[in-house]
């Protein structure tokens, strides 16, 4: 079920109510586990089996890793986990993609091969929970952690509904210890958690779905060629939409977990105020970028084997990171572009290592970063390369004969919201939400909270799925 639905409101109230009862800690954990399976099966009940497979395989793989006497046996247990998880991911998420590309490859060498069409439904959140469970066995394999002692705690780590389908991608060391001792949220934690959920849902329901999604759709899902203004507004709208949608989910998840007494890590840190691309990736989808760094970039050699290996590892990490987002070459192009940006930044930082920008140049570099990130969003949002080129040509002013697409309403609302988002990110660049709330008068906090809740209700969101569910 999605957070922005009536079903979730009722579900969460029931879970919170039962979790608050004076029951033994084990019973309350069982409640959370059952609730998490219900949460997941509310989409498509049979897919719970995949979740079980992932859970059980990694539990036994980690046990095997600890008991293994020889390195070869450790490798084997680790490989079992990797193959099982990535195998499921490959089959459900990339099966059709592989077949389509193989067909094209065969056709290019003159072999006419027409495979049967896969009709596979992508299990929601599979990319997230396979990465979470993989981190469990990989941490044990890398001797960074010992396995969980208790299957219930481990199963709950995999399944815990706030992070299950769209992150933040939790590491076992972040969550399993929290299940080991009884915890119940204080009244203030529940109220602050509810405030966080309100902020998250405001981002999703009001900003992303109600005001930004339509403008992006009109530019990207239309067969019309966009001119400069439409291409930029459509892309800016998507930049705002994807942030509000995904950061909104993360904030709601963090708030839901806090209401239950658990802490989850930040997944976004005001990314549109990033100066440079390494800074962007320390602020955007932090739990994915750090996962890729720890389990892909560093094992590929990281920056320890000379420039060539460093750049190769960087590009490989970003290309695979792009593919993680979706089974399409446009996502690979998005990742590749980020890889190129990161490589170029690395070169420039080495070349101008003594350069320290002044305040104006700092902001200018930040805006340049944001503009270049918008270029990458074109490949992320466009369904085909043809559409991506159309939009890019429009952004570069090359579609001179294009007719206007967006009406004044879209131009004004998107520009207003996106400017507000970017300004807010710059204001919050070195702050945390908590520090801002601490310094804000209580009455203002109350008014802002009420306004957000009010606009969520009157926006009447239609329960649209979060964008990252498809990943």
């Amino acid at each position: 079920m999605v957070f922005n639905s009536l079903t979730f409101v009722v579900f969460f109230a029931l879970v919170l109510g039962i979790h608050s009862l004076p029951l033994p800690w084990k019973a309350r954990k069982v409640n959370l586990l059952i609730a998490s399976y219900l949460f997941y099966s509310a989409w498509n009940p049979p897919f719970v089996i995949l979740l079980w497979i992932s859970t059980v395989v990694d539990w036994y793989a980690a046990q095997g890793l600890v008991k293994a006497k020889r390195e070869a046996a450790r490798h084997a247990w680790m490989l079992l986990s990797v193959v099982a998880n990535l195998g499921m991911l490959a089959y459900f998420k990339y099966g059709q993609f592989f077949v389509d590309n193989f067909t094209v490859l065969m056709a290019s060498i003159g072999v006419a091969w027409q495979p049967a069409h896969y009709d596979i439904v992508l299990p929601v959140g599979i990319s997230f929970y396979t990465f979470a469970t993989l981190s469990y066995t990989l941490d044990v394999y890398l001797r960074r952690a010992l396995p969980a002692r208790n299957f219930l705690d481990y199963a709950l780590f995999v399944t815990f509904f706030p992070h299950l389908v769209a992150g933040p991608i939790m590491r076992p060391t972040e969550l399993v210890p929290q299940f080991e001792q009884p915890r119940r949220a204080t009244g203030d934690q529940i109220r602050f958690g509810l405030a966080l959920m309100t902020i998250g849902l405001f981002n999703k329901v009001v900003l992303a779905d109600s005001f930004l999604a339509n403008a992006a759709e009109r530019v990207y899902d239309s067969d019309k060629i966009p001119g400069t203004l439409d291409a930029w507004i459509g892309t800016l709208a998507f930049s705002g939409q994807i942030f509000c949608d995904f950061a909104g989910y993360s904030t709601t998840a963090i708030g839901a977990a806090l209401c239950l007494g658990f802490a989850m890590p930040d997944n976004f840190r005001f990314p549109y105020a990033a100066v440079g691309f390494s800074d962007f990736w320390r602020r955007w989808h932090i739990t994915l970028s750090s996962w890729l760094r720890d389990y892909l970039y560093i094992p590929l050699g990281g920056n320890r084997h000379g420039p060539f290996r460093t750049y190769a590892a960087l590009m490989m990490t970003m290309l695979l990171g792009g593919l993680w987002h979706g089974a399409s070459w446009t996502f690979v192009a998005w990742g590749g572009l980020h890889g190129l940006y990161l490589a170029a930044e690395r070169v420039l930082r080495a070349r101008f290592s003594n350069y320290r920008p002044g305040p104006l140049m700092f902001v200018a570099l930040g805006l340049l970063t944001y503009m270049l990130i918008n270029l990458t969003w074109v490949f992320f949002r466009a369904k085909t390369f043809g559409k991506a080129w159309d939009v890019l040509r429009g952004m570069l002013g090359l579609n001179v004969a294009a007719k206007p697409i967006l009406t004044t309403y879209y131009l004004v609302t998107v520009a207003f919201i996106v400017v507000c988002i970017v300004l807010a990110h710059w204001f919050m660049r070195q702050r945390t939400l908590e520090s801002l709330v601490t310094r804000t008068p209580a009455v203002v906090v109350s008014i802002v909270w009420a306004l957000m809740a009010f606009t969520i209700v009157i926006a009447q969101g239609s329960g649209n799925a979060f964008i990252y569910f498809q990943f």
Binding site: M1, S5, L6, T7, V10, S41, A42, W43, N44, P45, Y136, D139, R144, A145, L146, P147, A148, T173, E174, V176, P177, Q178, E180, Q181, T186, G187, D188, R191, F192, S210, F211, N214, A263, P265, R269, R282, R283, S290, I298, P404, I405, T407, T408, Y409, T432, E434, S435, T438, A442, V445, S446, W449, A450, L451, F454, T455, I458, A459, Q460, G463
Partner: protein
């Protein structure tokens, strides 16, 4: 030294939580919080999630009071505008009716149409005359063809179909809610539960809970200046009132409020004038022929297993009727469809009892009172000429 995810290591209690006395015990975590991006290649510790030092109880109560007041004001505003609570006509509501066929009502009479038979055929009247309440599967602004094709592919359906033909929507293949069949097949348990909660707890209570009064719709309706080349078009406003089994009628405000009625006419008039976005005549004819072809095929499948299909061209009036006739002249659309499909049809212009003066406030749909009269008149024709009561001699199907 390796950290551990077992409790043997000192990682169990995250710092930075508000202590029970209300004091934040880790101010550092409030102002600057490290994330996994700051800790490469190590096991990540339990995160810190401090609660800002604020009087949260007062803040929460204040928020609730303001929220209730604002929602009360919003509700009052729309009720003052004339709105009363009604059921939202969504794909999920449609799905509930569609599933009745799978749940033992496969022999039912179905209304498969767009807005005209949706608003103009009153289920209460039909039920009183016929003894059985039809299932309403029409959808406004949507060609019913995908619904018909879905029924044709469903062997559980063996009943009767009143197929409404509104020329612009049907032959032009408009599809505002064309994905309702896909939604029905793909609907998740969560969506079903959400629909139940909404139609039982929210929709019967709150008048503002209607897409026409959603915040983005309200803001979009503000008088934005036109952008050259992309003028603002008026969106269709709330037109109807729907009940939980999708029995629907024209909203009485369209009759009683001259300004609102004029607005709705203006909305339709936007379509009457030629637009650069209109399809070319060749494209329009091609689309019409495709629609006819698909309809003929679906009807053949249905009739092959004994389903009775009756085409109905409902009344329209004024400039809308002129537009209908100009866009898809009867001779090249309705007549062709009836001939090619072999299914019987009722064109309102062929029946004096249907072609009289109807109260069509915005030229396309009947007032509630006339919709009741129309339903009775239509039922009489259907029973007399096409679907006589079961013991009567067999008529056309």
């Amino acid at each position: 030294m390796h950290s551990s995810i077992s409790s043997s290591d000192d990682v169990a209690a995250p710092h930075g939580y508000r202590a029970s006395d209300g004091v934040v015990d880790d101010t550092h975590a409030i102002h600057r919080r490290e994330t996994a991006s700051d800790r490469p290649g190590v096991a990540q510790p339990v995160p810190k999630r401090p609660v800002p030092a604020q009087p949260w109880s007062r803040i929460f109560v204040g928020m609730l009071v303001m929220l209730v007041l604002m929602l009360g004001g919003w509700e009052w505003y729309w009720r003052d505008f004339g709105v009363t609570p009604s059921i939202r006509n969504t794909d999920a509501l449609w799905a509930i009716q569609r599933r009745r066929i799978d749940a033992g009502e496969g022999d039912a009479t179905l209304i498969v149409a767009s807005s005209r038979l949706f608003f103009d055929l009153q289920l209460d009247v039909w039920e009183k005359l016929d003894g059985k309440r039809p299932i309403q599967l029409a959808f406004e602004g949507t060609t019913p063809l995908p619904f018909l094709e879905d029924l044709a592919a469903d062997p559980k359906f063996t009943g009767r179909v009143l197929l409404g033909i509104a020329p612009e929507v049907f032959f032009g293949a408009y599809g505002r809610h064309g994905k309702a069949t896909k939604y029905t097949h793909d609907e998740s348990p969560s969506q079903r539960a959400g629909q139940w909660l909404s139609m039982h707890l929210i929709e019967p209570v709150f008048a503002f809970y209607d897409p026409d009064y959603a915040l983005p719709a309200v803001i979009k309706r503000l008088p934005w200046p036109d952008r050259p080349g992309a003028p603002t078009r008026l969106d269709v406003r709330k037109l109807s009132v729907t009940e939980s089994d999708r029995n629907t009628h024209l909203w009485d405000k369209i009759e009683s409020d001259a300004q609102y009625r004029a607005l709705m006419r203006k909305v339709w008039e936007q379509s009457f004038a030629p637009s650069p976005n209109d399809p070319t005549p060749e494209e329009k004819d091609k689309k019409r022929d495709e629609q006819i072809e698909r309809t003929v095929k679906a009807i053949a499948m249905l009739r092959a297993r004994g389903v009775k299909v009756l085409l109905v061209r409902e009344p329209s009036g004024g400039p809308y009727l002129e537009f209908d006739d100009r866009l898809f002249p009867r001779a090249t659309s309705w007549d062709v469809l009836v001939t090619r499909s072999g299914a019987p049809g009722i064109h309102f212009q062929d029946y004096p009892e249907l072609s009289g003066e109807w109260n069509l406030p915005e030229w396309s749909h009947m007032s509630y009172v006339d919709a009741q009269r129309f339903t009775a008149a239509l039922h009489a024709i259907v029973v007399r000429d096409f679907w006589p009561p079961e013991n009567a001699p067999q008529a056309a199907n």
